[in-house]
C-alpha cells in the first residue's frame, strides 16, 4: 500500500488535536508507531505565537504531516487553506475536508470533488474525506485522487462503522485503491473490524486524545490495527450458523 508513493509501515494515522498536553501528544504518537499525523492551520497571534511551539513539537516527532482543511465549507476556502498549508508544511499532501452539514460534519461531496479537481491540477496530492458513496469515489479517482478516506461515523462520535455494508461495497469496488477509514472510530475493536474488511489503514484522533489515558489507548489502537490487518491477510474462517465441535468426537471414551 502506498500513499502517493510513500509506503508507511504503520497503518494507523493519528490526529494531533485534543490531547491533555503536548507531552502526552508526543508520547501517544511515539508509542503508537504512527508515521503520519494530521495537522491544521489556525490564526497565529504575533504576541503569543502559540503555533510556533506546537510546530516545533510536531517536527521533533519526525513523522510525515498531513495538513487538513478542517472546518472549510466552500471550495474556495478549502483551496486557499490548502495553498497556505503547502507553504507552511512543505508538503503536497492535503486532507481535503469540505463540510456540508454541521451536526454530522458530513462532507459535501459535490464541493469535495470540485476542490479535488482544482487542487490536483495545482499539483496537490489529495486525501479526500468522503462518504461511502461509490459514484463519488469513482469521480474522485477520475479527478486524480490516489487515496480515498471514507468515514466510519461522524467525526468525534466514536460510533465505529455506521454502514458496514457500504464500506464493504466500497472496498469490493476498488480493490487496488488505498482506502483509509477516517473518523468515527471509538474503540480498537472498531479499528480492527475496519482492517478485517480489507481497508488499508485507519485515521482517528478523538478516541485516543479523549481517552482517560491517551498514551495507553494509542498503543491499544496500534495493536488493533495490526491485528485487523494480519487477520485480513491470514484468511479468516467462515462464520457458521450451527456449532461445530473443535475437540474431535472420534475416539471419545464411553464412560
Amino acid at each position: 500500500m502506498k500513499f502517493y508513493g510513500h509506503e508507511p509501515c504503520s497503518r494507523l494515522l493519528l490526529g494531533t488535536a485534543q490531547y491533555p498536553s503536548p507531552a502526552i501528544l508526543s508520547d501517544a504518537i511515539k508509542l503508537s508507531g504512527t508515521e503520519i499525523v494530521t495537522v491544521s492551520l489556525r490564526r497565529e497571534s504575533g504576541a503569543t505565537r502559540a503555533g510556533q511551539g506546537f510546530w516545533s513539537i510536531v517536527r521533533d516527532l519526525d513523522v510525515k504531516v498531513l495538513p487538513n482543511t478542517a472546518g472549510c465549507h466552500s471550495v474556495k476556502e478549502a483551496i486557499s487553506t490548502a495553498e497556505m498549508a503547502r507553504e507552511v508544511f512543505q508538503t503536497a499532501w492535503i486532507k481535503l475536508e469540505v463540510i456540508g452539514d454541521d451536526d454530522t460534519l458530513q462532507p459535501d461531496m459535490f464541493a469535495t470533488v470540485e476542490a479535488a479537481r482544482i487542487l490536483i491540477s495545482e499539483g496537490f496530492e489529495v486525501f479526500p474525506y468522503m462518504t461511502e458513496d461509490l459514484v463519488v469515489a469513482e469521480k474522485l479517482l477520475q479527478a486524480g485522487c490516489q487515496v480515498l478516506m471514507p468515514w466510519g461515523a461522524p467525526i468525534g462520535s466514536g460510533r465505529g462503522l455506521n454502514n458496514v455494508y457500504g464500506l464493504r461495497s466500497l472496498r469490493a469496488h476498488f480493490p487496488d485503491v488505498p482506502l483509509i477509514v477516517d473518523a468515527g472510530i471509538g474503540l480498537p475493536s472498531h479499528a480492527a473490524a475496519a482492517m478485517e474488511l480489507g481497508y488499508d489503514a485507519v485515521l482517528l484522533n478523538t478516541a485516543v486524545a479523549k481517552a482517560v489515558d491517551p498514551v495507553q489507548m494509542a498503543g491499544a489502537f496500534a495493536k488493533a490495527v495490526a491485528a485487523g490487518r494480519e487477520a485480513f491477510l491470514a484468511g479468516p474462517m467462515e462464520q457458521r450458523d450451527m456449532a461445530a465441535p473443535s475437540t474431535p468426537l472420534i475416539g471419545k471414551a464411553f464412560l
Binding site: G15, A17, E44, G46, R49, Q52, F54, A85, E87, V88
Partner: protein
Amino acid sequence: MKIICNGEQCDVAADTLARVLLELGYAGAVVATAVNGAFVPISLRQNTPLKFGDAVEVLAPMQGG
C-alpha cells in the same frame, strides 16, 4: 493605517505585507498569509501593498484531526 488582521482591527504604520508582519511580531515565524481571502506566498509578501481595510490572515500550524 487601519487593516484587519486575523479578524481584528489593527492600526499599522507599514504598508506592505512583509513589513506589517514584522510590525505585528511575526518576525521569523512559520506562518502562511492571505490577503482578502487569497493566499500570498512568502515570495510575494515584499511586493504586496496593503491598503486601508484590507483583511490579512496569518496562519500557523495547529492541532488537527
